[in-house]
């Protein structure tokens, strides 16, 4: 038998082969922003520990244009992460009520509600208004 199976190479361009893969990559890139923002906050804690002057240095850094741009991007990516995470929650946590499963929309809806309430509470407690 003269079989000679041909193996096609897997190249990184699979990402651009369909919008779903691009959306996946955007979701995965959100980790860069969430990670870097958290590290920025760790630096903030260091400044807080070092006293009032250091803390105001931190606040000034926040006010720089680069920081504002970074924050806007980070906010967008973090929100996208939240939306995708809550939309996929029903897949990971199916709930069966009697014979049928609770609709996906209900489970993700509940997650979105918790998110909204929690965010509002944080904004309120932090006195953001």
């Amino acid at each position: 038998m003269s079989r000679k199976p041909y193996v096609r190479p897997v190249t990184a361009e699979w990402i651009f082969r369909h919008p779903r893969y691009v959306r996946y990559m955007v979701r995965e890139f959100s980790c860069l922003f969430i990670g870097s923002w958290t590290l920025l906050m760790v630096w903030g804690l260091k400044q807080l520990a070092e006293g009032r002057a250091a803390w105001s240095v931190f606040l000034d850094v926040l006010k720089t244009p680069e920081s504002v741009v970074f924050h806007v991007l980070a906010l967008a990516f973090a929100a996208y992460h939240s939306v995708t995470w809550f939309r996929l929650a029903p897949k990971a946590l199916p709930v069966q009520r009697g014979e049928d499963f609770v609709a996906d929309g209900v489970i993700s809806g509940a997650h979105f509600a918790v998110w909204a309430v929690l965010s509002a509470a944080v904004l309120l407690l932090a006195g953001a208004f």
Partner: protein
Amino acid sequence: MQETGATETVAGLRKEMMHTMEQHAGIYRSGEGLTAACATLADLRSRYGGVELHDKTNVYNTDLLQALELGSMLECAEAVAQSALARRESRGAHQRLDFAARDDDKYLRHSLAYYGAAQTPRVDYCDVVITRSKPGVRDYSGGHE
């Protein structure tokens, strides 16, 4: 099968066979319909030798596969047509318009078709082994009585 210079194609013969069986060996059959089918199938089986293989490779050769399948299908088709022609009664999915009644005396037996030297198969019978379900009138009309 021919090396080159085919007079027939696998697809062509297969289509003719399917058409013949569809028309004459469906659920409702008749004597002359089955006779016509047997004649056509015998002709197709003789023309089968004129088929040519276009794909001469040894790796996943579906052309060869279909050609071989066609040969077997033609044999089965003729066996079905011949034994249907011989079975002068109606039973289950074999409904002869010219022999509407079921005839347990003569035909409560399996049909067998043997391919020997002659081109057309010889039809023979063998007894049925009755176990749990006894032969009886299968009347699903749910009507009278």
